[in-house]
């Protein structure tokens, strides 16, 4: 860096000017810091209680910063926004009230016997264990003893191994990551950390003590080690999300324990939680240890028919031996339909892979036992007060055990009847099977073989698979319908299909793949169990896509802290409601103050605009942009007559300009010749405000200093702001970027914003996107990284002008994102 001779102090002759600039800088800097705190807070709230001091402290600091920012805004604008004060004082008082009711963490036991008096808190022992306790209350005989390593043990393990921060870092932003390899690598890392974690000796000892005690009762014991997860509401099943470890010897219990805990972070489990908006802190895991029976038969029983609750029929599925492969959909089961009532009677048997019969039996399970299981199930449902999904096993002596019981969810579909005009002349390609979830859907067919990658399944597809593997859960949110050749209606996937409300047919039969081969688009009526080639019902496809989009557009999180701090209500700065008094959260106030401070500086409607014009000089460049440079510390030498970009000795400005002036970028003004004769308004819109500005507010400004730059640019209806401090140090280097696109329809604005968000995240920015406003920050990186970030912003600002023309579909976002990141700027021409 060239050293200039020392200048006399006070090159800022106008102190008022200096003070105003310093006020703006102070405010913008606080704003950037605040957005970072907000972003960290969101990640932390996923893992921490709101009264945790690691949450409380930043919130109080945030509000104090906001208050000082409000003072600064009012200093800049001559007390134009004093309403803000009241808003902020109120927010602080509300926050204080929230924190005053906090819950201390009592000492919780790490390991508990399943039936112990004190172990009745579902948050401590998890849903599975809790269900078993309830069963044991009414049916002491039916439930095997066991013990639970509680959620307290889980938390202790996380703390001891300092996993908390590492897991949070790795899970952060996974909900917006679209790179499957990255997703998998991160979850894999977490699993490895847990599997290698050290378990506190107290926990180890307690587990082994309980195990040895049960060994007395069950000689040659083999264990089932299963997850018992916590969820706030009972409506979510977590079916098949975690791994169970079966037939474990006592000496391997701890390894199995770690393995089950690690399964909390399988891809599908993480995706499930993300999709259902579960916070990590609300869903810790306990682990259930139970002795295994050597079953002669096992299976699942639904105490009521899901498709026709009024029919008074229950269903029992059975396999010889262990049931675990059955629930995973790997092995077909025999199904018994039993009429309920005081004398239950088997009315139908559907053998695995065979035709339904009215009479018959299987060799591993007598019909009397089936009735016994039915009766016990009915009794249990009666005692519980709701219908049940029960996992049962029968040992070699014929004794029945219940291994798990949970509430049966009868989800009401929103479309029971197939309406719409059907073309009577075409016949279905396929008919039959079992409805797992009703409804109609239409979309491209994807036949998924076991070796295929789930990530290759396109959005809105109708997927055909052989077996209902639980891993398929990860694609449920994005497909139109699911067709399964074989499969049990009572396995994990069936449960999940109902939860995700995806139209679905099981047991289509082995011919399905053959009959559907070569078809591109198919239509499915899961209610009537028919599949047609081609498009059958107009309008269905849009509805399907809307359902998928709705499901994937994350609904606003809620809770007192979200509303008070994180939620953003002030979306549209041009709306009449964009006022200080409309701010309801801290985020709102930050947004408001940032917007107003920038407007104030650049005279967008503010009468206090003083002094900027006098001090600015025009930037001379061949590029079709107009900028006024405001030089704070003689970054442009007084001797310079024409201010060309090279003469501006500001590190951030140079970096940004490198991006903007990159000759690979395409400027539509190069078509200027072709445009001659076009109306000037058209040129203005298409070419982006190249006509000379008529008002000061149309000018683009760049305030520069040696290590600082604040740039505001308007072009067409878009508006971009870059605020950057870049020097040889690191600690307070920052690059802040704001973009708001006007014009165009709502869809276009969204796409534009999503495109920007994607690019910025990929390159390491923290991003906040609300509506069509994108705010991004890149803080505390060394000089080179910060300069590269600015260069990228230069490219981005120029390409952004073309976004409306190229982002015609949602798929284009990903495509053009890749073009941009591989510097294919010609595609933005």
């Amino acid at each position: 860096m060239a050293m200039k001779p020392e200048k006399p102090a006070g090159f800022e002759k106008d102190y008022q000017f200096r003070f105003r600039y310093e006020t703006l800088r102070s405010l913008l800097n606080k704003n950037g810091g605040a957005l970072q705190i907000l972003s960290d807070l969101e990640a932390d709230l996923n893992h921490m209680r709101h009264y945790d001091k690691r949450v409380r402290r930043p919130i109080q600091r945030l509000i104090t910063e906001s208050l000082l920012m409000a003072q600064e805004l009012n200093l800049m604008t001559g007390d134009h926004y004093t309403d803000l004060y009241e808003v902020i004082f109120q927010l602080r008082n509300k926050a204080d009230q929230l924190f005053s009711g906090c819950r201390p963490d009592k000492d919780q036991p790490f390991v508990l016997g399943l039936f112990e008096e004190i172990g009745s808190d579902p948050f401590l022992i998890g849903g599975k264990a809790f269900g078993l306790r309830m069963l044991h209350q009414y049916f002491k005989d039916l439930v095997l003893p066991g013990f639970v390593a509680t959620t307290a043990a889980y938390h202790r393990m996380i703390e001891d191994n300092e996993l908390h921060d590492r897991i949070r870092i790795l899970l952060n932003n996974l909900d917006v990551t679209e790179d499957p390899a990255q997703f998998q690598s991160r979850t894999r890392t977490i699993r490895k950390m847990i599997q290698e974690a050290v378990v506190a000796s107290e926990i180890e000892t307690a587990i082994m003590e309980q195990a040895r005690a049960l060994e007395q009762q069950f000689p040659d014991i083999l264990w089932a080690v299963r997850s018992s997860a916590v969820s706030e509401d009972g409506a979510h099943s977590f079916a098949g999300q975690f791994d169970s470890e079966l037939q474990i010897k006592t000496e391997n219990l701890l390894t199995a324990y770690r393995h089950v805990l690690a399964s909390r972070f399988t891809d599908r489990a993480v995706k499930y939680r993300i999709h259902h908006q579960f916070r990590e802190v609300d869903t810790p895991m306990a682990v259930l240890f139970m002795p295994m029976v050597a079953p002669a038969a096992a299976g699942v029983s639904y105490t009521n028919d899901l498709k026709d609750p009024a029919a008074g029929v229950l269903e029992i599925s059975a396999v010889p031996g262990l049931a675990n492969r059955m629930v995973k959909g790997e092995v077909p089961a025999d199904t018994f339909r039993v009429a309920k009532g005081s004398s239950p009677k088997i009315i139908r048997i559907i053998p695995a892979g065979g035709e339904a019969e009215e009479v018959g039996s299987v060799d591993y399970l007598s019909n009397e036992k089936v009735i016994e299981i039915a009766r016990l199930g009915m009794e249990a449902a009666d005692k519980f007060g709701y219908e049940l999904d029960v996992e049962w096993a029968m040992d070699k002596t014929g004794k029945i055990y219940f291994l798990q019981a949970r509430q049966l969810n009868i989800v009401r579909p929103d479309e029971m009847m197939a309406k719409a005009s059907e073309r009577k002349d075409s016949l279905p390609v396929l008919e039959g099977g079992m409805t797992i979830f009703p409804g109609r859907a239409e979309g491209p067919l994807k036949i998924l073989k076991p070796e295929d990658q789930l990530t290759d399944v396109p959005e809105g597809a109708i997927v055909l698979v052989d077996q209902p593997r639980p891993e398929l859960a990860s694609i449920l949110p994005k497909i139109a319908a699911l067709l399964v050749v074989e499969g049990n209606p009572v396995g994990h996937l069936a449960t999940l299909v109902r939860e995700f409300a995806v139209p679905c047919i099981f047991r289509l039969g082995k011919n399905a793949a053959f009959l559907l081969a070569g078809k591109n688009i198919i239509s499915v009526n899961a209610t009537k169990r028919t599949v047609y080639a081609g498009i059958r019902w107009p309008g269905i496809r849009e509805r399907v896509l809307a359902r998928i989009a709705d499901g994937n557009r994350h609904p606003k999180k809620s809770g007192p802290l979200y509303d008070l701090v994180l939620g953003l209500n002030l979306i549209d700065p041009d709306a009449a409601s964009f006022k200080a008094k409309s701010c309801r959260s801290v985020h709102d106030t930050l947004r408001f103050m940032h917007e107003m401070s920038v407007r104030s500086m650049f005279g967008f409607g503010d009468k206090q605009n003083r002094g900027w014009h006098k001090k600015s000089r025009k930037l001379v460049t061949e590029l079709p942009v107009k900028f006024q440079i405001i030089d704070l510390d003689q970054s442009v030498s007084e001797k310079v007559k024409k201010v060309v970009p090279e003469s501006v000795e500001s590190i951030p400005f140079q970096a940004l300009w490198r991006g903007v002036s990159d000759n690979r970028l395409v400027w539509p003004e190069r078509w200027e010749n072709a445009m001659r004769g076009m109306p000037s308004d058209f040129k203005e819109t298409v070419l982006g405000g190249d006509r000379g500005p008529r008002r000061p507010s149309d000018k683009n400004y760049a305030i520069v200093a040696r290590d600082y730059m604040n740039l505001n640019a308007r072009f067409a209806y878009h508006y971009a702001m870059v605020d950057a401090m870049v020097g040889p140090g690191t600690e307070h280097n920052h690059v802040h970027f704001r973009f708001r696109g006007g014009g165009a329809g709502e869809e276009n604005k969204q796409r534009r914003a999503r495109f920007l968000e994607r690019i910025l995240r990929e390159t390491g920015f923290g991003v906040d996107r609300s509506g069509d406003l994108v705010t991004a920050w890149f803080r505390r990186y060394p000089q080179t990284d910060s300069e590269n970030a600015l260069e990228l912003l230069g490219h981005l600002i120029v390409c952004a002008r073309q976004l409306d023309a190229v982002l015609k579909t949602d798929a284009a976002i990903k495509l053009y994102g890749e073009y941009f990141l591989s510097q294919r700027f010609d595609m933005f021409g």
Partner: protein, 126 residues
């Protein structure tokens, strides 16, 4: 409690690091070898793997992440600790998800690094 001494490798192209770390870490009886060049360090590692590798993340000739990947491919049980010149979450994320055990940011005291090494060695032994 007598335990096997650890074999520790330190890689950093800044002379001051190896110079100060070696005596500090050897105090506990562990065996420490220091390298200023990544290539040489990896060649030595290929000869005979180390228990712990401490490496800078950004060096002029070779990237710390490359070193990390090479080492883990060669020896799955080696614990790799990353030294960064500044701590950012992105670096932590990248390093952790590629399999680093932990990271430490300059400036640090050798004692701080030793605490991380102790944690790593506990896992090695368990």
């Amino acid at each position: 409690m007598s335990e096997q001494p650890l074999k520790i490798m330190v890689i950093d192209d800044e002379n001051i690091v190896g110079k100060r770390l070696k005596p500090a870490l050897e105090k506990t009886g562990d065996i420490v070898e220091t390298f200023e060049e990544g290539e040489k360090a990896l060649a030595r590692f290929d000869e005979s793997p180390f228990d712990i590798v401490v490496t800078d993340i950004r060096m002029e000739k070779i990237d710390g992440i490359e070193i990390l990947e090479h080492i883990l491919a060669k020896s799955g049980r080696t614990k790799v600790i990353i030294i960064t010149g500044y701590a950012t979450v992105e670096i932590a994320r990248e390093a952790l998800s590629k399999g680093a055990f932990d990271f430490i940011a300059k400036p640090f005291k050798p004692a701080d690094l030793r605490a991380i090494i102790e944690r790593a060695s506990k896992e090695l032994r368990s």
